[in-house]
């Protein structure tokens, strides 16, 4: 049996989700954003919610997320996505609403919006991509940058006296009564991707059953910002990011 004989619709195992369109993504090669976008598309598709979903895009690398998934989107000002999502969900309680935010957007400039949306228990999903660096603006320090890790604005490595500590914001959000699910996932292996998708689905289901705020943090890579190959980035992430940001559920009620 040759290759051409296998390529038939009935033999399909896996492909680009239908909700992800053909627009070429502006992300760098190997960027974790692409996989996370796919997972969101798959979950929305599988839940049959594509006509009921409103996504809120951040400022940062994912600013153009709205160009890649064929759902309705709003583009927020930097850090304000949870405020937008709050209004969208409260005004439309039957819609499925999520924000997609990076570490700068969610854990620096938008900390207040993030914490208060979670504390109010807004019935939204917050997808949090933590790659410990600012990608869009050219690799500056993020609130989640590891100690000793060098970036454009901490070229000698993050230093506690100068920059304080990496912010484990998901741990903080797990303390809030308004959150029902806080989980930390990654997408560096096929197994990790499958597990992450399961938790993402749970998060979206929580939002529809009005259980409170669900946060899915993706510990991610930034090959360009970290100045490594995508594969090296994954290895570096396992060795350096995971000890500080261990994968697993911080809260699941």
């Amino acid at each position: 049996m040759n290759t051409l004989e296998i390529i038939k619709p009935e033999n399909l195992v896996y492909g680009k989700p239908r909700l992800m369109n053909d627009n070429p993504m502006h992300y760098c090669p190997g960027c974790s954003h692409g996989v996370i976008h796919k997972l969101i598309a798959e979950v929305i598709e599988e839940m049959g919610m594509e006509e009921q979903t409103i996504g809120i895009a951040p400022v940062g690398c994912a600013v153009f997320a709205y160009n890649y998934l064929d759902i309705d989107w709003q583009e927020a000002a930097h850090g304000r996505a949870p405020a937008l999502a709050t209004a969208v969900k409260r005004l439309n309680p039957d819609k499925m609403v999520f924000t997609y935010q990076g570490d700068g957007d969610l854990a620096a400039i938008g900390t207040a919006e993030t914490i208060h949306a979670c504390n109010r228990g807004e019935n939204i999903v917050i997808v949090f991509v933590n790659n410990a660096i600012y990608g869009m603006t050219g690799g500056q320090m993020a609130p989640t940058t590891l100690l000793g890790m060098s970036t454009a604005t901490c070229p000698h490595g993050r230093n506690v006296e100068l920059n304080g500590y990496p912010l484990k914001i998901s741990d903080l959000l797990a303390q809030l009564d308004g959150t029902c699910l806080v989980t930390r996932q990654a997408v560096h292996t096929a197994a990790a991707v499958k597990k992450a998708k399961k938790m993402l689905r749970k998060a979206f289901e929580n939002s529809m059953s009005h259980k409170g705020t669900s946060i899915v943090e993706f510990v991610s890579t930034c090959a360009s910002g970290w100045k490594m190959s995508p594969d090296q980035s994954n290895k570096w992430m396992v060795e350096n990011m995971f000890p500080k940001y261990p994968l697993g559920d911080l809260k699941d009620i």
Binding site: M1, T3, I6, I7, K8, N11, L12, V13, Y14, G15, K16, P17, M20, D22, P24, M25, Y27, C28, P29, G30, C31, S32, H33, G34, V35, K38, V187, H188, T189, A190, V193, K194, A223, S229, P230, D231, N234
Partner: protein, 74 residues
């Protein structure tokens, strides 16, 4: 005994040659081509098509959604 045979189709124009699929493949099916696509990326392709078991690991980790996987039981 039934054998599983798979194959992958790479959208070579969409591919950015990040190599993550190559690393993820358990049976060493994929490689990056010497040739480049119109954007200048060395795209992924099958070097050992016969080894593919259709596990889709390459597809799962592909950030750009450019891999489609098929499989059959023979």
């Amino acid at each position: 005994m039934a054998k599983i045979k798979g194959t992958v189709v790479v959208d070579t124009e969409r591919c950015k040659g990040c190599d993550l699929c190559v690393v993820a493949c358990p049976t060493d099916v994929l490689e990056l081509a010497k040739e480049v696509n119109s954007k200048g990326y060395n795209y992924a392709r099958m070097k050992n098509p016969d080894e593919c078991i259709g596990c889709a690991n390459c597809g799962y980790v592909c950030p750009d959604g450019c891999i489609t996987i098929y499989k059959v039981k023979i």
